[in-house]
Each structure stands twice: as structure tokens, then as C-alpha cells.
């Protein structure tokens, strides 16, 4: 999100905005785009197309790999008329979301637009996602049973 990040680790900055875009719904993306930016002209190079990917895990986090299950993923690649190629891989089957996320990824790579888009689109989305996550975590935390406290109560 800062100039230092962008020059030191271009992929780290891009990875962060792609992650935020992948978690945002098509409606959220469309609303923010309407308000803050014009969609550029673009060509769809691939997709949006849906498919399955195998999600793999490791026992205990670092042990033998195993197949957890298959997951539906939609991907899209676009090229804007200014020459940037944007990619998006999102969970689920929302083709519109994948397409908008790919277009935004391409727009974010255009140095003239990066800062404005990061501030107007990515930051609010990241904030919403953080709030949503905190709420879920808080709700889950409220149902946590404190075994240690119960034992103390009985004693």
C-alpha cells in the first residue's frame, strides 16, 4: 500500500490486493467501481470459467499431505487496452466477480491508477472484510467453553 512496498516487493503488494479482490462480492466491486473509477476497455483472454481444484492439507500442519476435498473455483484473465494483464481466481461460481476482480487487478498495475484505487477500492473492501471477520470471530469466541473455569467452579 506504500511506495516502498511497491518498489521492494511488487508481488507482495499485488498479492494483497488480489486476496482482497478475491474475497469481495461482485456487488461490492461493482458499487465501488461505479463510485470511484471508470471501467477501461478490455479483452477477455481466458474465461471467466469455473472448475474444480483439489485442496490439500498437511496432517498437523506440517506432516504428510492429504487431499482435503475439491473446491469450485472461477478464474478469469483480461487485458486492458492500455496493455495490463489482470488475473483473478475466486472461490465459487460467480463469473461477474471473477471478471471484475481481474479487471481491477489489471487497473491496479497501471501506475497512474494504483494509488487512487488502493485508497478508494481496496482499502474500504479490506476494512469491510476485517470487520466481518472480527464479528465472526467474536461470535465464535462467545460460545467457547472454558473447561478450566468450570473445573474451578466445581471445586
Amino acid at each position: 500500500m506504500h511506495a516502498a512496498d511497491a518498489s521492494d516487493q511488487p508481488h507482495a503488494a499485488r498479492r494483497r490486493w488480489m486476496a482482497v479482490l478475491a474475497r469481495a462480492s461482485a456487488a461490492e466491486l461493482a458499487a465501488l467501481l461505479d463510485r470511484h473509477a471508470d471501467l477501461p476497455c478490455y479483452t477477455k483472454l481466458r474465461g471467466p470459467e469455473s472448475g474444480l481444484v483439489m485442496v490439500r492439507g498437511r496432517t498437523g500442519g506440517g506432516g504428510a499431505p492429504f487431499n482435503l476435498g475439491e473446491m469450485t473455483v472461477t478464474r478469469c484473465t483480461v487485458r486492458t487496452d492500455s496493455g495490463q494483464v489482470g488475473h483473478a481466481y475466486i472461490a465459487g461460481r460467480d463469473a461477474r466477480q471473477a471478471e471484475l476482480a481481474a479487471v481491477l487487478d489489471a487497473m491496479l498495475q497501471d501506475p497512474h491508477q494504483t494509488f487512487a484505487l488502493l485508497a478508494n477500492v481496496i482499502a474500504p473492501l479490506a476494512e469491510t472484510q476485517r470487520t466481518r471477520r472480527t464479528e465472526i470471530t467474536a461470535k465464535a469466541a462467545a460460545t467457547k467453553v472454558q473447561f478450566f473455569a468450570m473445573r474451578n467452579m466445581r471445586a
Binding site: T43, L45, T77, R79, V85, H87
Partner: protein, 193 residues
Amino acid sequence: MSADILQPGFADPVAGAQSCFRAVLDAMARPGRIREVGTDLTPPVPLAPATAAVLLTLLDYDTPVWLDPASAAACSWVGFHSGAPIVAAIGACSFAVALSLPELPTLPAGTHEAPEEAATLILQVNALGCGRTYRLTGPGLHAPALLSVDGLPAGFASSWQENHALFPRGIDIVLCAGKSLAALPRSVALQEV
């Protein structure tokens, strides 16, 4: 991902690949027949639309592909759209893409137990329907067929006959030029006219 993937694939991937597959099937079944494919494609230089269409149709993630140095500019496009691994050794490929005829014995010709493991050569030539004329005989041909190809070298007939003699082993060739293709399955015998 590199930024040089600048061209899209088929406008409609399913219908595009199906109609091209049908064309390749027809061309293989009737050697010498010229079919039209890839009319809606804008492939990267130096690939012709027919070559690009055949690649998009036949390649997938478990068919290693080899590209000759002249067509190396299209490597990232082929890899991106097909997902096929690109190999540096011609002997390890399932499909080979070439703009000029490579030495046929360097391509994997399969084994007697598994002749289907032989490679398919997708050879881009200057034109089909003009140039050197070959007489084809063999399965699928009631009467000998004539095929004219501009872009095959002078000794092609004899190197093809060596390949044909390996049957049921041997490689198959799909000849592509512009938006047309023709096929030479290993079962066909060929003589220059």
C-alpha cells in the same frame, strides 16, 4: 505470469475446440482432405490460425509439447491457454510444433505395446493445395488421393516412407497453413508425383 500473453484463445472454448476436433478427426480419417479451422482466432506470431486452433484443441496438462526455435515466441501463449507443460527435449513430447520439418526419427514413435504413445507433429507449412504434389494411398482412401503442399522439403517422401514402415509405430502429422489443415496419419503411404 508474464505480460506477453496478449491474445485470447477461442471466443467460445467448447464449441471452438469441438468443431476443430471434428475437423482434425475428418482430416485423419480421409488423408489428403483439406479442412478449414480457426476462423475466429487471432494467434500470436508466428502461428497460423489453423496451427493455433489445433494446439488449443489437442493440448492439455498431461500432453508435453515441444516447440521448435522458430515458434518459441508463442511458448507462453500455448502454455497459458492449454496448460500443457513445455519440454525442451523433442524426444519427451506428445505433440511437437514446428515451422520446418524436424528429423522425424527424433520424435517418439511409440512402442509395439503402446503405439498410441507416439508423438503428433503439428507442422505449419506455407500453403496447402499448391506446391509439391503427393499421391496418398492407404486406409480411409478408396482411391489414391492427391495432396499438394508448399513448404515440405525435397526429401520428405522418403523420410515419410521410413516412418510409415514402422507401422503400427510411427508419428502422425497435421499440416497447417493459414486457416486450413490436412493430416498424414502413419498408416498412409506417400509418393511424390
